[in-house]
Symmetry: C2
Subunit: 585 residues, 2 copies
Amino acid sequence: MNTTSQTARRIVVVGGVAGGMSFAARARRLDESAVITVLDRGRHVSFANCGLPYHLDGEIAEESALTLRTPESFRPSGIDVRTGHDVVALDPHARTVTVEISGDGGPRTETIAYDELLLSPGGRTIVPDVEGLAAGFASGRVRTLRTVDDATGLRTDILAARASTAVVVGAGFIGLEAAEALAAAGLEVSLIQRSGQILSPLERELAHLVAEEAARLGIRVLTGRQLRAYRPGADGGDVVVLDDGTELGADATVIATGITPDTEVFAAAGVECDAGAILTDEHGRTSVEHVWAVGDATARPTAVTGATRSTALAGPANRAGRLVADAMLGENARPLPPAQGTAVVRVGSLTAAMTGANRAELDAAGTEYQTLHLHPLQHAGYFPGAEQIHLVVHIGPDGRLLGAQAVGRDGVDKRIDVIATAMRGGLDVADLIDLDLAYAPPYGSAKDPVNFAGMLGENVTSGLVRLWHAAEAADLDGAVVLDVRNPDEVATGTLPGALLIPVNELRDRLGEVFAAAGNDGARPVRILCASGVRSAAAYRIIVQAAAAEGIRLDVATLSGGMLTLRAWYGDDVRNLLAVPEGAAA
Amino acid sequence: MNTTSQTARRIVVVGGVAGGMSFAARARRLDESAVITVLDRGRHVSFANCGLPYHLDGEIAEESALTLRTPESFRPSGIDVRTGHDVVALDPHARTVTVEISGDGGPRTETIAYDELLLSPGGRTIVPDVEGLAAGFASGRVRTLRTVDDATGLRTDILAARASTAVVVGAGFIGLEAAEALAAAGLEVSLIQRSGQILSPLERELAHLVAEEAARLGIRVLTGRQLRAYRPGADGGDVVVLDDGTELGADATVIATGITPDTEVFAAAGVECDAGAILTDEHGRTSVEHVWAVGDATARPTAVTGATRSTALAGPANRAGRLVADAMLGENARPLPPAQGTAVVRVGSLTAAMTGANRAELDAAGTEYQTLHLHPLQHAGYFPGAEQIHLVVHIGPDGRLLGAQAVGRDGVDKRIDVIATAMRGGLDVADLIDLDLAYAPPYGSAKDPVNFAGMLGENVTSGLVRLWHAAEAADLDGAVVLDVRNPDEVATGTLPGALLIPVNELRDRLGEVFAAAGNDGARPVRILCASGVRSAAAYRIIVQAAAAEGIRLDVATLSGGMLTLRAWYGDDVRNLLAVPEGAAA
């Protein structure tokens, strides 16, 4: 381990949050003699950026909880942390950065030399180019939510009752967290999302569940809409105007429309970027010698599709900071893992979590996949508090785990973490069958939701079960729909013209199925039930009986059942379903 | 897929809980034509055996929640479930079992033929051979907790106020769960454990935390004690007498002293067993043709040490039932995974969980290992409700993950499941550094407890940090103890004679350390702090400074710090610690 050196290394870190500070701490452990300087343009370093939304309603009550460390607190470690230091130029040949210094000593410029430079500049919010918005920012009634000052300013306005209406622009993680906190603080909140659904990384059949929860929290969710103008009032009473003409009261507006890497200075100095994000090798090296980079401003290949993209998440940034320090100062450094994209958000009493690739990424990469839907209980059904987890798993034809997402009230983060770990370990979907997970009635089931996903996945990849999907329900073109639920369930609505045979009667009524399909099996049979369990059993009964009688049939079972179908179509499901005559609800 | 046959296969299943019923359900999916018969000696099949303790205090309120399925409910699937059928003989040559039938039709005997036989007999409680206990069983005031009738009988006694004192014999999972429920129901509960600690699979430094919680729940925990006699009272008022003469009021007594495989009948017929447990291959085949076995009554090699043992847990049994059905009736069946031993128990507000091998198993197998102790928070420290997870991880010299255990109030099961999955995926401890786990402040930290375990593990295996352990504290023989905590922490007690230098002053006071160690480093330096984080930083400072000055030192940092040391010694820690003169508490 090369931990000392004759001449002390000068290490300069740009950006004092997440990746930058994690790097600095590890660098100090590896090299006591290095001269480590951290430059940040803001007032705070190492602050709780992921905690900012929770301060708005006082769930995190104290500002001091957000400012985890002061610059002074790094002094005993010999790390020189300088706030109010904005890096405005990089000279890779001279190995210097130029900083503009605000705060004490007034605005001035300084040039700082480095032996090694670590860039962790993060991103800045993409502010929509909308008439009047600049005036809103100037008045302090429009804010991003990127700094401690953003959060405390908004909190102060709320406590002083200067805001009773709020507009949050952008329904990503931060936008949703902010909208919930503002609603919890008693504000009338509108949440604006340009695309057709909230939480765009989440699959639509799960995003719908989250949108319902947001509505339950009192948030007015407006998707497919964007800002047309911001109209400051004379004395407060500002108004946000949407592209469809809707006008929303906006005492406070939060712009959470995503971030763009804050890298112009470094790109101008020759650091290679892609769509603004710094490209690095697997140890954080940029295209420029002695310049390294981590965090939101970097782009790396993703684990599943290999597509290069940036990941604006605190976890990967923090862990990368440590690994890049190892590469710079240690021996046998581990490579940065490809980006896996694990993420989680709390919305009301729901948790939504994801790992790996989603449908959009798989489609963009041309990856072949199938999608499993399950709705297992998070713990033993006989134990109080059992709740469904709505689970979506994408698998390759060979059973490779490509991605997983889940929404539910309890145990969601655990299952996504387990699947994320399985993916990292190279396990395939069938390996999930017998993962040995901790079971006692308060924690899981003897067959855990993850085990169930494995069982269904193996059934599908082995051909034991064949799925059809909610998306096909709008155009089933001549198929026999077989609903194997009980009459009381059917009475809540089914697909028009469905053949109704409860699964427990199916063995005695197979003739009806074969007759409906036509003697030569001319019409495909599309089975459905509530969650997909009984229809899979029905599938096995039908295909075995058909084989025994020499009948060729095209049969499939609805992935995730009516639960998934309803969530897929959302409010539009009313146009799709019918209540059979004589059905008693 | 061979799912139909010309002549219907006769499949007989012995034991209608967990493995047996899981097998039967899968067998039906694979083979519609098979004649499937399930024989169980009890009154219920497919009941919630893991739920029984929670019925005692009404947390699971209704008996009906425990009896998940009736025999009749399997009829539509064509599975013939027969309760009150006790298998008393097996003839593998004739392929028949003989059953003694109780219930309707009175006691009689029948012989049933099979083509394939699945044994899932489970275990029965090992009842200590103690004077008077048989009378207690006869009176109904002594019970095991293996059947629905056991649980409902005890619940009825409690509701009828026939019991105000209880003795639970055996402090394993079921014993602890039962003791907690009885205490919650208002009984005065004593919990007797023959060995020196409760929950014997749990490491002592974690078991101590659980014992404290049990005491907080009002349970009188008596370890190192066993039953000498049971003395029935004239009309109730029974007394349990311990080997040290202690007499305990015992209106109700629960024997939870572990189980032994219930396999005599099958062993007598030539099925090969080891210590009573049926040996199977990786597909559940026994030594006898056409006879298969799953569940608590079987023994299989364990994943970490390879030692053969039985695992009396519902999860592996349920999953094995499915895999053995695949092997019997399907194609390309997956092998049963080696036993990993993941388990979890709730005790009051604590969760204790484990996976892989513990110290005792590693020692017995002669496996070389090191142990990591960590006490990270389960989620971001600045978010309300942050609680420590006490984590123990055993690793091999090469970083192989051998086992992990944890105790805490929240997030414990998740971390053990993640590590269990990592072990299954063949990841080593350093791979845990950058596992991409779901992070938002309510769920975790940017560096998750599992990531921290990876970081510490890599530091240890790479030689960047060297640990010493609580066990050594009783005999440090000439070492310099360096306590790097702050004075207010030191005032709560430290090891006698410790050199006191807060970590933030260490760089300026290294001379004191070197002087104490002797100029030639004659005395080893043993660093400690509260949890092991600051002492690891101190370790890095000292070894780098010593190297820079050419001083050879034997330095180590206390694994898990004072938190682990206190838990290791339990109440005896008072004899070990001193409060330095002048220290202000």
